[in-house]
Symmetry: C2
Subunit: 228 residues, 2 copies
């Protein structure tokens, strides 16, 4: 079992910290567990904490008054989220929900501000990470604006494969936790349309779908759907 300090070191934004600072950090962090489907925070909530995932899976989503959900992204081990409210003191801009049982570390604003004032490298790491997030969010907009349903499904699956795909003899395999409805909500499509496109990709021979296991057989053809 890793010590608290060793596991902090695995978190990219903190990897540059000295043992001493890590120790300080570990003391101001709170450990918390969330059950599957438990809401971690809601869109609009006031918030001043940053959440780091030690294990599990969390979805960040927008929900409208008709309960239509759009999943912006998912986070897993060693990822952090919630930094926006931490930094600009605004309300939570999206809802965070545990998709699996999740173990998290929490750090509060005042402590965090102190940390980055003492450690410019943490600030820089954070800036780089935020910049990356802005980049993927921009790509998200690009998806929603320019891609048709095929592109949206392809983009969703290829992104997931990037994150959790494992090379097998026949292709890239992934074992999903997310439901079809959730995959559709990540793609910006209705569940029905998502299912139809998934079927079509199978007919074309790009995919093999067995329940929650999806195998990407022909990545090249799939990628063709997401060329801008």
């Amino acid at each position: 079992m890793l010590t608290k300090i060793q596991s902090l070191k695995n978190i990219p934004i903190f990897s540059s910290l000295s043992e001493k600072h890590l120790e300080e950090l570990s003391e101001i962090m709170l450990e918390k567990t969330y059950r599957k489907n438990q809401v971690i925070f809601d869109q609009g909530d006031p918030g001043n904490s940053l959440i780091i995932i030690k294990s599990g899976l969390v979805k960040i989503s927008l929900v409208d008054s008709n309960n239509h959900e759009f999943i912006i992204k998912t986070f897993s081990m060693n990822d952090f989220f919630g930094e926006m409210s931490l930094l600009d003191c605004g309300p939570r801009s999206a809802t965070a929900t545990a998709v699996e049982d999740t173990l998290a570390l929490i750090i509060f604003r005042d402590n965090f501000i102190g940390l980055i004032q003492k450690n410019p490298s943490v600030a820089l790491g954070m800036l780089t990470e935020l910049s990356n997030r802005l980049r993927t969010t921009t790509e998200n907009i690009s998806n929603l604006t320019f891609f048709d349903a095929y592109g949206k499904v392809a983009r969703c699956l290829l992104d997931l494969a990037d994150k959790i795909g494992k090379k097998e003899e026949t292709g890239l395999a992934m074992q999903l936790t997310l439901s079809r409805q959730e995959l559709a909500n990540m793609s910006g499509l209705s569940r029905e349309t998502f299912a139809r496109i998934l079927k079509e990709f199978q007919i074309r021979g790009c995919l093999k779908v067995q329940g929650k296991k999806i195998l990407i057989l022909d990545e090249k053809i799939m990628r063709r759907e997401i060329v801008i």
Copy 2:
């Protein structure tokens, strides 16, 4: 006429700097002018500079292979952009184009990194600003996902009014530089649909449109279109 240092002070992320630092900063900055419609940088270009606008107007947009444009946002006096490539060294994620003749200051990566390492407050200001941008980009996604054409137009106009609207006796007035096509491209609609909705809002009495001057007569009703 403001001195270079005085005008740097007006830029929010630099406002906390001392005279001495401002002077250093002013020496590493490059001044450049762009003509109307000139491309400042293109999506995909390598980039390691941050651009600060002294005067003028710049649009940041995504363009697909069919020349469909989506305008993510516009920047004007004292705003900065291009920070993403500066921070994570990735390619430009969108295209920046001058909508009006524009005067800009440019700062390059190495100098910038040096600056924020010496000035944690600049890093913090930048983090807050990036966080804000992530927030508005997230709102953008929300628009695209949940709003119908009415909502999209309302959101676009209300945002513009926020930025450049002036109170008149009859309502909020704004003098636009952007073309109808560009307004449509900000809303994620076709030019035709945008025009139709604009007309409909006029019929309803929410708007008065006289060419490039738009008057918001009934903000309340317009806002009703963008309630999530």
